[in-house]
Structure formats: structure tokens, C-alpha cells
Symmetry: C2
Subunit: 413 residues, 2 copies
């Protein structure tokens, strides 16, 4: 008897997460073992609320649906931030989820997300085993942070890295025009790991030496050393650009951004971003022209600058998860294994979710220079293939054409 | 006898200013009356410092040079912020400039820039007349701010508007994923005029109602009204996005950003951006989830998202200026005259610099709604054609290929 499959998305947006969804849908459509494809709206919360949409139909009927889905940033199915309790803490919630999935004749459930989502799916896979449920649970990785273990990198990272490197190159052009000393500080996402900020190094080319300084959260940040670094660079070049992770901390583990929390006129504390904090520090101590820029959420949702390599792999990771689940595997996450740097080669494989969930992969210390203010050639070699290739998105009336988030059928509600 | 021409750039960067430079070079190369094309490095300061580069050669020898130049953001020739004194204040500086131009056999000088640059070129044109110098002086408009008079719009504005509208659409996707009330405030450039912020309205489409609120500097900003507006929108939709000009002011003309200047722990005053100020206001008064985003300098230097229409017109404005100057005109700026909205049609013309310099064009009150929290259909109809068309830039190793700023022949110097 044919089974249905269910898929959901969770965590923060990326420009590639819908490519993985497209991969899940495509592989399911191609399989004789799959009847209907259901999407749960707003992740596991959507399962509990029984908010489902049918994905077989738009994908089967509209030839452009999957192509547009691949290029649409953020989550087509919406997201949630929902921490699954352990089965021993709340058996009811598991009863409810399994009751719904069984009622809907679900054979396999796919969760596309980052670290927290892998925790959810691990718990569901273990609960299934404990209940002798035949439903398979698989994770498909996604996170711009690139901090999942046992996969060479994560979908979404390559596109974010491409956005960051391209933007840094454009900031360099913006910076080089004046003949006056100027420091530009660019704050990049990454609370605990420096993978995204490291991508700023890729902006360097035959004429652009910026960013001259790169600070990651993996190495303690010293204000005095930072000021010395900037002064040294100002002697070599009028235009100094600094790339800095939002999550840099001092030697006591305190966020640099938190340290300079300031009170507004009402006495309420206000947390300045680290870029602003360093801007003020440079202004105060070095009396030089300085500005700070936050790349903000655009680094994770800029669907118009994605890496073709990233979208391709994201799709394949979704397809692979469906294939393996239909073969009977459960409790796994599909992964990328790099087999060669130059030329870049990789294979899609999988690992047990129990070895992945609740672990985080930081930048290895040896990929950061001794001074802790730059990344090494090894790091650049690692990132470079992940940003390769451009995706020609569709434009209409001067704007990108994306698919609306699925629950937006009634805007304003 | 053949004459040489000189061209320079000034003011803040745009993604289209090099297209105007390419237009000047192309038309000059095509003219039998022009011998050599000199670029002054760092605007009028570069003339005074006699920092020149030859533009005829790279343009004549490298077929890709002009194409790449068109797509390179910020100023190929570098910029300056130099206020020309009046001739009666400092005759020497004029003597020096005219001496240099005459020595170099310059027949026409072109200055590509915004309001301040038009002031410079106006003064030079008047000085030329007073001296009976045969050198012609022409301005080519450029500013993302779109605030020059007597031209329908300015080169650079369309590309910045396209970047803003595309980014707003991507922010909308990022916003729609959660099922929780959330306010997102996007700060957009524009100290005195709201043209750039108005472009956020173009992100609205058949599924996206955001940004629901748009505040421009042309209308006084009332905090209490703003909070009421946000609350009203939160009743209609979970995701409220606000587009706000950095330059909004209260009824006394005081910048909203300046009002909330806060002291850091050293007692130094720190000026928060208006986005952050409104974020804090919403957090404090409405107790809702809120975040703020600054589009920052990327809105002016993102060469990878430019409007094809903008780059085409920018080129034509440069070409036209050369043609007119060679015909004997001086003291003018080339302009765009719109002859039809739908289909969009325009003509390149020119106006006297004396009618342009030191004037600023704001958004007409009737293009802002009565409540002062949105723009009208007329405004949208005005902007829409300016963002049309995409420019397929060249990419290599996953990154845009641009021309290095001219003075960067020796990086690190």
C-alpha cells in the first residue's frame, strides 16, 4: 500500500532551505511508493495544530512551481521555534503527533532545519523506535551558520557566504573612493561560530586587500590588540576594513556587544551591535574617520544572490533523504562529504542523528592565523567552492519572482 | 586643432556613476574633435594635485573595459568632498585650475556628481566666462538621493530603488515565516528627501502587503501617531514592516535619530540610527517583538543589483554632455525628461547649471498620503519604470568582476 510523506521546515531562514524542500518533493513525486506529499505549516507546531497543505498538486500541475520554490528565500512552509520535550517529560505530545501522522498514513517525515530541528527529529525517531512505529524520521540540514557536525558544510551557508563576500567587495569599492584615512567595520552574523565572517576574506582579489582584519568568536577578542591592529593597518593603507562576527567575546567569555550596553534617556538598557561598539572605540581612541555596517538579515534571505552549488546540493540532500527513508532508513540526517578541494568533488551520504543533534562545529583554531585577526589559506580553500555559480532567478517588473509563503493565501489574516 | 577633454567624479558613490563616465569616454572616442581623454583622480582635488590618468588607452585597447566600467559600482576615478570657494574669495585656485587645464589643452571639462558637484562646475563655468576662456564646463547628474531639480530623476536612483525594493521583498519573506506578531523597522538612506524610502512600496505585490507603513522626511514625524499606526497594523497582520527614512524629523525639525542620542559608559554621546530609536520605542511602548535593519551603504554600491534602465540612461547622459559641449554649449547639466509613464519614454536634454546648483527636489506632498504614513499610487507609478531591467554582470570564482578604482595600481600604498 502506498504511503504519504510529510515535510516541514524549522529554525531561521536561509536562501537555500526551499531548494531542499523542492528536493524532497521532486524525489517523492518520482517514487511509486509515495502517494501524497503533505507540508506542515510552521514546523512541528503545524503538525500539532494540524495545519497542512498538499504539495503534490502544485508541484505536479505547475511546471514552474519547483523552479520558483528552489529560488525562493526563507521558508515556503513557514517556521517555528518549538523545543520538543523529552518523551519522559511529556508523553501526550508524542501521542498526539504519532496519532496525527498515523491517521494521515504518513510513512516518512522529513524535517529541514538546523541544530534545534535536528534535536526535534532525533527525539521523534527515538520515540518511533520505542513505540515500534514504522514511520521513518529524517533530517535535512539547513543553516547559514554552518555549525552542524558530520557534514562538510550546511545548505544555506554557501549562498550566505557568497552574499557576504560580494557585499564586502562592493563595500571595498565604496571605501576606496576617498583619499582620506577611514576605518569601516562590517558586522556579520555568527553568534558562536565564525564561518560566515570568514567568508569576508573571499572578497580579496588582485586589487582589493580588504578586509585586512577578520575577528571570529573562536578566539578571545582584546580591545587593545584590536586598536593596535587597526593602527598598524592604517599605516599601510588609507582604507581599513574590518570584518567582525557579532559573537566575539573577551577573554572572560563576555560578548563585546553586551559589554557596551548603553542606557537611553529613559534609563532603559540598549544593546549595541558589536559593529557600533567597535566604531565608537575606534572613534574615541584613534580619532580617525570610522563607520560601521551591519549586513543584517539580508545575508540569510537575499534570494537574488545565491550560490548555484549551494542550491544544487540543497536539492540533492532533500532527494537523498527521501530515497534513504523509502529504503527503510530512519533517524538519520543527509550529509555532504567533500572528496576533493580542487576540483571540488563531493558525495551525498548520511549519518545518525544521535551523533549530530546538540553538537556544534566551530572554526578550527588552525584555520585562524596566530594573531587571531585573520583566517588562513586553508579556510579560504574550504569556502571557495561553496560560493561558485550563479542562479539566474526570474525577474518581473524589475523585482525577483518568488513563491509566496504557503500560509499567505489570505493576506492580512 | 584637436582638443583634449577631462572628466572627474565627485560626491557619494552610486552603482551607476561609472556608466556616465563610460558614456563620456565612449562619445569622446567617437569624436574626431577629441584627442586625449584625461580622468582627474579624486575630483577637483585631483585637478589641483595634477593627478591624472589617461582614459583613451584602456578604453581603446581593451574591448571589455567600457562594459566592465559600466557595471563597476562607486567611482572609478575616486571622489572628493571639496567645496570650491567663490572666485572673489580665492582667485588663486581658479588661476591654478585654468592654468592646468590650458597647459593640458583641455577643450571641455565634465564633472559627474550631485548637488555639491554641480555647485563646483557652475562656479567653474562662470569663471570661464569671466576670463573669456574657451573651455566648456558641463555637469552630468548623479545621486541616489534623486534630489536634483530640472531632471525627472537622477542616475543611480533607479539602481538604488531596485536594490531597496528587492531587499524589502526579501525581508518580507524573512518576516512572514513565523506565526508570531513581529514588527520590523527598515532604515533607508535619505537625509532630506524620501525618494529612496518611497521605493520600498514597490516590494508590495499580489501576496506581500509589506511595508505597511512608510515615513519620509517631508512630513513631520509624531511618535504617538507612529505607535498608533503600528498598533493598528498589528491588528490586521502579524507581520508589520515599517520603511523609514534616516532623515525623519519631528514637528520642530529635530531629527528623530538625534533626539535619542544616548551616552555610552564613558559618557560619550552616541547617535543611534533612527531604526534603532524606533525599535526601542516599539519595544518599550508596545511590548511586542521588534527588530530593526539598516540597509546601509549597500543600497548605493550594490553593483550586482542594478537597473538596466538606470545604467542605460546614465551612459546616455554622459554621451549627451560630450556632444553638447563639442557643439559649443557650456554651463549646463544633461537631464532626463520623461515624456510618458506607460509605456515609459524619455528624452535626454539639458538645463542651465545656474538653475540647478544648490537647489533640492523633495517628494511632493501630494505623493504622500494624507496620514503621512504611506506613498500614493502616483509615487509608485513614477518609480516603477526606473527599476526595470536587469544587468547581467560578469562573475568569476563566484564573485562579481569589477574594475579596480583607478588609483589602486599599487595596493597598500
Amino acid at each position: 500500500m502506498k504511503k504519504n510523506i510529510m515535510v516541514a521546515q524549522s529554525g531561521g531562514p536561509t536562501a537555500a532551505i526551499n531548494a531542499s524542500l523542492a528536493g524532497v518533493i521532486r524525489e517523492s513525486l518520482n517514487s511509486d511508493a509515495v502517494d501524497r506529499i503533505y507540508g506542515a505549516v510552521h514546523g512541528i507546531s503545524g503538525v500539532l495544530d494540524e495545519r497542512f497543505i498538499e504539495l503534490s498538486e502544485p508541484a505536479g500541475q505547475d511546471a514552474d512551481f519547483l523552479t520558483r520554490l528552489i529560488h525562493t528565500p526563507a521558508m515556503y512552509l513557514g517556521s517555528c521555534r518549538f523545543k520538543m520535550p523529552k518523551p519522559e517529560e511529556d508523553r501526550q505530545i508524542y501521542d498526539r503527533i504519532f496519532g496525527i501522522l498515523e491517521k494521515m498514513n504518513i510513512g516518512a517525515f522529513f524535517y529541514i532545519g538546523g541544530n534545534d530541528s535536528m534535536d526535534t527529529i532525533t527525539k521523534l525517531a527515538m520515540a518511533a523506535e520505542a513505540r515500534n512505529s514504522g514511520i521513518r524520521f529524517a533530517g535535512v540540514p539547513k543553516t547559514i551558520d554552518n555549525d552542524l557536525v558530520l557534514t562538510d558544510h550546511t545548505p544555506g551557508y554557501g549562498s550566505a557566504a557568497k552574499y557576504i563576500a560580494s557585499s564586502m567587495l562592493e563595500v571595498a569599492h565604496d571605501t576606496y573612493i576617498y583619499d582620506l584615512p577611514c576605518v569601516t567595520i562590517v558586522e556579520i552574523m555568527g553568534r558562536d561560530s565564525g564561518w560566515l565572517t570568514a567568508a569576508a576574506a573571499l572578497a580579496r582579489n588582485e586589487y582589493n586587500i580588504t578586509p585586512q582584519l577578520i575577528y571570529l568568536p573562536e578566539v578571545p577578542f582584546h580591545r587593545s590588540q584590536f586598536l593596535e591592529d587597526v593602527q598598524k593597518e592604517l599605516k599601510r593603507s588609507k582604507n581599513v576594513v574590518v570584518a567582525v562576527s557579532e559573537g566575539i567575546r573577551d577573554e572572560h567569555g563576555t560578548y563585546i556587544s553586551a559589554k557596551e550596553a548603553v542606557a537611553d534617556k529613559f534609563g532603559h538598557m540598549q544593546l549595541s551591535g558589536v559593529g557600533k561598539v567597535l566604531e565608537n572605540l575606534v572613534k574615541r581612541e584613534l580619532k580617525t574617520k570610522v563607520r560601521s555596517i551591519e549586513l543584517s538579515i539580508l545575508q540569510r534571505c537575499a534570494g537574488h544572490v545565491t550560490s548555484a552549488q549551494d542550491l544544487k546540493e540543497s536539492c540533492e540532500l532533500g532527494e537523498y533523504a527521501v530515497r534513504k527513508a523509502l529504503e527503510g532508513e530512519t533517524g538519520f540526517m543527509s550529509t555532504v562529504e567533500r572528496t576533493s578541494d580542487q576540483p571540488y568533488r563531493y558525495e551525498i551520504r548520511h549519518s545518525s542523528l544521535q551523533d549530530i543533534a546538540n553538537k556544534a562545529k566551530c572554526v578550527p583554531r588552525e584555520w585562524i592565523n596566530d594573531a587571531g585577526n585573520d583566517v588562513t589559506e586553508d579556510m579560504i580553500r574550504y569556502i571557495r567552492p561553496l560560493i561558485l555559480g550563479e542562479t539566474g532567478i526570474e525577474w518581473r517588473d524589475g523585482l525577483p519572482v518568488y513563491l509566496p509563503v504557503a500560509h499567505l493565501n489570505h493576506p492580512g489574516e
